[in-house]
Symmetry: C2
Subunit: 357 residues, 2 copies
Amino acid sequence: MQQAQQAGLEGMQPQDFDRVLTSMCTEPHPAAREAAERFLATNPGDPGTYQTVAELEERAVELLGAVTGLDDPAGYVTSGGTEANIQAVRIARNRADTNDPNVVAPKSAHFSFRKAAELLGVELRTAPTADHRADVDAMNELVDEDTVALVGVAGSTEYGVVDPIPAIAELANDADALCHVDAAWGGFYLPFTDFEWHFGHADIDTLTIDPHKVGQAAVPSGGLVARSEEVFDPLAIDTPYLETTSQVTLTGTRSGAGVASAVAAMEALWPEGYREQYRRSMDNAEWLADQLRARGHDVFGPVLPLVTADLSVPMTDELRGRGWRVSKTGSGEMRIVCMPHVTRSMLRSFVADLDWY
Amino acid sequence: MQQAQQAGLEGMQPQDFDRVLTSMCTEPHPAAREAAERFLATNPGDPGTYQTVAELEERAVELLGAVTGLDDPAGYVTSGGTEANIQAVRIARNRADTNDPNVVAPKSAHFSFRKAAELLGVELRTAPTADHRADVDAMNELVDEDTVALVGVAGSTEYGVVDPIPAIAELANDADALCHVDAAWGGFYLPFTDFEWHFGHADIDTLTIDPHKVGQAAVPSGGLVARSEEVFDPLAIDTPYLETTSQVTLTGTRSGAGVASAVAAMEALWPEGYREQYRRSMDNAEWLADQLRARGHDVFGPVLPLVTADLSVPMTDELRGRGWRVSKTGSGEMRIVCMPHVTRSMLRSFVADLDWY
């Protein structure tokens, strides 16, 4: 019991971010933190009772629409990208007329699609990629009459690449399947690039974009955006005892802190603050890639502010021993995510530690 | 655009709780609020990177074990009761050897079980209740060789009743099915009653108990507790790029604020603070039931601190017009939940408004 109490909250502090190079979450923007604290005791899952935060959620969706090229967006603030991806696959499964549904995605798709497939009883078919990017011909070969959705990734988790979304959307259209884009991480960098990735560029149905990643909101603040309200109809579950009568979300009680902080972050940063952040992060990623190449490493990226390099496993362990939070891709490359909290001086210090080794 | 900005965060305040009689969430305990604010920028879904909050989650599960009669509990802090209930059904489905799984529950079970069934492709069979409580014989009639789980409710959402958990656990045992108890709301009241509802009282496998309800933690802080780690094996999904290698949770990124605030609330309140809260809330519920009966209403409860009464629909609308957040059961009775924020003076004011009408 004594030992248990020593493991309790007293004196424990969250990690600081000054050596975190692996997370796709970041320090929330000060306005987002303030809003999260203010709305900590609200539940947008019960909009009849918690009306203010329900209104804020409408505002969050409107702002997400502005970021993703939709004038009249539908959607909601999810617990994160995983919920949004699960829900997209669930919509596709529920609206399709097959007993043996499959979803076609590039093998670079996030592991939440494997989770979604397992959960929902849907087959996940993953196509090989070319230079880590979706290969539309390879995806096409996997499509058949039981295909209910095609997935494109706009800012992949491991390499930060952007799939050819318009071509994937065409494939989905031809197959009469839902087209879902996972821009969970990339969504707040991509508006400042030339990539075609959103509702304004292609005929997509649903899109994941997480304010609590590059959007600089507080966790939990994911986003699922859809072209219209009707997209959510296949998810409605009756809610007998609430003041409202049905619910389309995956979770029930939800975080008002996440909703309020998403609005606060986007109101503070869209678009100019996010544009500046993109430039800073991309400059940092390019600097890092140059430094690593100059040291003879094989480097991929940055396409978006994310770099991978062939640093050896013992080196990874050594860096972890020095407090760096680094991780590896499935192929074993070291992966460094240039989030807003990752500064040039942090990267200088990281490269200095590499040189020491 | 101008109108849109007016709907933004500027000047918007969360509701206060002084007329909320319907929510099963409440004002967080001050220590829970402080901890949530401190751990806002952490992600227990990535335990390699966010180690402190991962340790705190172990402490949270240990405390949940103390509340639910388990010395060596397994589990995690979920986004809420819905996730915990979905996960219990998912465990049951995945470990069973049938292509046509069903779950047997009393019709009083929370709507999240309908959501789970729809999501997971499991048939939900609901049995009639007797005086709103699970009827074990009626449940038994629905059990067959494809039954993968039986559900008991310990503190039902609509009437606050407690099912005969030991008898349901026996039924589950006989059917070789998982036994899940939903104590999402009741779990922090029940330790101070004579009910038999937890791991120490019956051979149950999994249990939902939400710190962010009566436990007085901040949203999102639900709880799924299991008898052993192995229970979670059927949920593991590989996670290539994280510092850890697999994930059993439904969501990916998770809220460190929820985890830290669960620990803070339970360290502050378990057991004496919760005992006092139970007494206060139960006294209030009994007082309200007496007042309503004295006015000629047909009242059910309180079994736990929740009262329903046959107040007419126009009266409900009238009360809402006066700012009261009230809701109805599926059968149309008004339902008043005596959460920690519901004080005697609040109820006096509510009854006075009833009299005025």
